[in-house]
Subunit: 205 residues, 2 copies
DNA sequence: ATAAAAATCCTGTAAAAAGGGGAGTGCTAT
DNA sequence: ATAGCACTCCCCTTTTTACAGGATTTTTAT
């Protein structure tokens, strides 16, 4: 056995360098390389499948979450470990929901990183301490929107009136109004102003 | 001459490792070490003063911007280079205003990083391409609100109606309405929904 | 297969916001 | 001293939201 093979996907060159310098001389780790975009990652996977992928959640304008989902659909055997800074709490949950096996913060130590890699490689879940806390607190306050509600919310926040939204979505104005009512009720908001504020702050928009 | 001495301040261990591995073997760079908090950075400076500090703008719950200001007051000879991810545009301007000599994104290449270090060490300003763009676009799109407008905006975003705001601020409803109109016009917004979205995204709320 | 969830549509009333005007007071910086 | 800005106040009309009911048809998941 050659150790756990690892690929990193991150658009921050400095982070790639950091991880590489940490893992390069580890006996039980086989460094497979890096990708800086979803595209190059998928291309890489056509020829090599690592055991574990370290995946930055925020890949410039792309989303590591979507990429995670795609990879797990095509290569369910690969274990994915989310990677990001502490101030992107809301995404931790999303990447776990989309198939990631764990989560490590970018201020992790070498030992934490190694432990995380071996844990997910063994098929278990690894959540770095703070990440676990975040999941628990998020759990209670999170608001689940339907596909249509998200669409309507987005359009409302962009300044469209019910009438305009109805035309855009090919539905009746009363339908849009119903979605609006449900949104207000889900957010416990008094009006659209406070709803939009909350939605933007929760990064739903 | 021993090269440019460099200290890095960053709460992300992986980034520290990345920069270290990039700079360690450079002949013209003298690696002085790292700090992971403002406190440890200031302690370090009492004994060694590097030529250049690479400073993460976001140090956990501390702010690299405040730290930058303190360092420049005490040690004006040290050149500071801001460091962060691309999605913290609004802070670039602030750290420059607080005495930093330049700015590098964390997805910079080795050459960009070296160029930035040598440029600021020579007393000049270095802005990585995207950062320069951001400064320029920020400049033109920034919206200046009066004291009263900020108050009204805040209350609107909290879900209060004109009537309620009028009572709270001890003014007439028509006055609040005028502020509202001026806000819409300053933001070029069609309605309060889009206004609130923009305001939250610009971190005005 | 069937129950639950989501999406669609309706009627009606009252409240609030958007959009258009205009206008007086007080401060402050040139 | 005076032009500019912030803050205040008013009128009017139209559009849009908010709130309260109810109802039917698709999807989706077990």
């Amino acid at each position: 056995m050659n150790g756990v093979s690892v690929l990193i996907v991150d658009d921050h060159y400095l982070v790639i360098e950091g991880v590489r310098s940490l893992l390069q001389n580890e006996k039980n780790i086989e460094w497979q390389g890096h990708a800086t975009s979803g595209e190059s990652c998928l291309a890489f996977l056509q020829h090599h499948q690592p055991d574990v992928i370290l995946m930055d959640i925020n890949l410039g304008r792309e989303s590591g979450i979507d990429l995670c989902k795609m990879i797990k659909e095509k290569y369910p055997g690969i274990h994915i470990l989310g990677l990001s800074t502490f101030n992107q709490q809301s995404f931790i949950q999303k990447i776990i929901e989309n198939g990631a096996s764990g989560y490590v913060l970018k201020n992790a130590t070498k030992n934490e990183l190694l432990e995380a890699i071996f844990t997910v490689n063994a098929g278990k879940t690894y959540l770095s301490g703070d990440a676990f806390q975040m999941l628990r607190t998020k759990e209670s306050t999170k608001i689940i929107l339907t596909r249509r509600e998200k669409e309507v919310l987005e359009l409302i926040a962009n300044g469209l009136t019910n009438n305009e939204i109805a035309i855009k979505l090919f539905v009746s104005v009363t339908t849009v109004d119903t979605h609006r009512k449900n949104l207000l009720s889900k957010f416990h908001a008094r009006n659209i102003a406070s709803l939009v504020k909350m939605a933007v702050q929760m990064e739903l928009i």
